[in-house]
């Protein structure tokens, strides 16, 4: 059962990711991207990480996919169709294969392959204490990144107006 669901989710995620890149109509691509994010949330749910799955749905589908969809909707199509392909495509494929092999080797060489999973699942209520005690610096850094992103966007919009 779990294997079947995993396979179905993998197919949904990968096919919609390919669609997101290859769709002729960019809006279809953006919606396919949202579907791909939903598939990833499904993987989290399959790993019993329900909180993370909801995080994925709220932030990636509810915010980032919506932002991309909105941006893509307002861009004229002709600007996108001009991009030349050819050399870039083969280079991209080669780079992707190299990166995938490298990452695969890293995972293979790391401790993931012979780590024994504990059967009892960790409750998601442990997430808060961990973030706020051991990793509080990361949280503050995250807020700095978010803040600078928003300020940068506003400044860019202002520059464009002037």
């Amino acid at each position: 059962m779990v294997d079947f669901v995993f396979a179905a989710l993998a197919i949904i995620t990968i096919v919609s990711a390919i669609l997101a890149l290859e769709a002729k109509e960019v809006v279809y691509g953006a919606v396919a991207l949202a579907l791909s994010f939903v598939g990833i949330a499904g993987f989290f749910a399959l790993l019993d990480a329900v909180f993370l799955a909801m995080f994925q749905l709220t932030v990636y589908v509810g915010a980032i996919a919506v932002l991309i969809l909105f941006t893509v909707m307002l861009v004229r199509r002709e600007q996108w169709l001009k991009i030349k392909e050819g050399v870039y495509r083969t280079a991209g494929v080669v780079a992707a294969v190299i990166i995938a092999l490298g990452l695969g080797y890293l995972v293979y060489a790391s401790a993931f392959t012979h780590a024994t999973p504990t059967l009892e699942q960790a409750p998601f209520t442990l997430l808060g204490p961990l973030i706020l005690s051991d990793y509080w610096a990361a949280l503050v850094a995250l807020s700095l990144v978010l803040a600078s992103a928003v300020i940068g966007a506003v400044v860019l919009a202002k520059l464009e107006r002037d």
Partner: protein, 382 residues
């Protein structure tokens, strides 16, 4: 001759419909059998023998299938939607010294929802030539599906709930995050200007008011220390959270109004300027699915969420069943959300967006921090 030909065409269509239904029924039965579970005893004698019928019905009511299809699930919500729609029309009519629906069903037009559905079903499905058909058809369906998915985690009582999720509140907000996507899909696929403008307004408005909504729902979560809606209600047995977090409750109500695109926040559907916003190009049952079902299911979800988070859910005096208290409270909240339509004008878009961030977000954050300090100082309801 034309009459006979029309009649023949009609008969052929009915025949096609019957064939489709005959094909669909085995598939549905198979899914239903799966949902009933392997332990459920199905014997033909249970249906025929009158003495066993009651036991059979009780057993049936205890299955997931019954919960999904009937009581806290789709049928109940669709009924609630129909009643809320009729109630809205009658209430607003009385507020504005009109009569509202009057003829269907003799008494005050109480059968008007059925008449509406029959009318919409028999209407021609006019699809403009310029639309993108795939998204145009998909968007209303998705809206209904998404709205119903949120219903699954809402407990009517601690017994009547479809999915006892430990992250119930988050599930509802994750589902609410999908609505801008369907609105944008409808707006873009219509390939027309009014829907585009309405869709963009809907997007900005939903997105702006979602943050205060989430943060105001966090104050009860902080008091209860749980995301499970059943736990949140149980903690409220001594005091309702509306007394502990009044500002959050008000912010939640206002933001729910905005999420529902109701007056005074109905800019996406502003009739005088935008015809019907992102629904302009829709007609017939396509339109009915969104405006007749999905919007009212969303209304039910948000008023039920308010009831669960702030009004103590199904808790109430014991002389009436808890289901009654829950439905009564939700209906009162629904009425509160309906009344502004008869009273207020609408806001300008820049003010609308700005006040969400400048006022409601700050208010929700302040109440959240106060709640956190109260909990930190040792106050506990458990």
């Amino acid at each position: 001759m034309a009459l006979i030909r029309n009649l023949l065409e009609f008969l052929i269509r009915i025949a096609i419909l019957v064939v489709i239904i005959i094909i669909l029924i085995p598939i549905l039965l198979l899914a239903a059998y799966h949902l009933l579970g392997p332990t459920f005893p199905i014997e033909p004698s249970m249906l025929l023998d009158p003495s066993e019928t009651l036991a059979f019905t009780l057993k049936l009511m205890d299955t997931d299938l019954f919960r999904i299809t009937v009581f806290p699930g789709f049928t109940f919500v669709a009924l609630y939607a129909a009643i809320a729609g009729l109630w809205e029309r009658k209430l607003l009519a009385k507020m504005q010294l009109r009569v509202g629906p009057l003829y269907a069903g003799r008494f005050e037009g109480i059968l008007q929802p059925i008449a509406d559905v029959l009318k919409l079903l028999s209407k021609e499905l006019v699809i403009p030539k310029v639309v993108d058909r795939f998204f145009y058809i998909l968007a209303p369906l998705l809206t209904v599906i998404i709205a119903t998915a949120a219903v699954a985690v809402i407990p009517v009582t601690d017994k009547w709930v479809i999915a006892r999720s430990d992250v119930g509140v988050l599930v509802i907000f994750a589902v609410l995050g999908f609505f801008p996507i369907t609105a944008l899909m409808a707006a873009w696929s219509s390939n027309s200007r009014y829907p585009l403008l309405g869709g963009l307004r809907a997007l900005h408005q939903m997105v702006s008011y979602e943050i205060p909504l989430i943060l105001s729902a966090l104050a009860p979560v902080v008091y209860a220390g749980s995301l499970n809606l059943i736990d949140i209600v149980r903690v409220q047995s001594s005091v309702w959270f509306i007394l502990l977090a009044p500002v959050s409750a008000i912010v939640f109500l206002v933001c729910a109004l905005a999420e529902l695109e109701r007056i005074p926040f109905d800019l996406p559907e502003a009739e005088p300027e935008l015809v019907s916003g992102w629904l302009t190009e829709y007609g017939g049952m396509n339109f009915g699915l969104i405006l007749g079902i999905a919007v009212y299911i969303k209304l039910y979800v948000l008023s039920a969420l308010f009831t669960l988070l702030f009004l103590g859910g199904w808790l109430g005096p014991a002389f009436l069943p808890p289901e009654f208290w829950f439905i009564l409270k939700s209906f009162i909240v629904t009425t509160l959300l309906l009344i502004p339509r008869g009273v207020f004008p609408r806001l300008r878009i820049d003010l609308l967006l700005k006040q969400s961030w400048a006022r409601y977000l700050i208010l929700a954050l302040l109440n959240l921090l106060v709640a956190a300090l109260v909990v930190l100082s040792g106050f506990s309801l458990r």
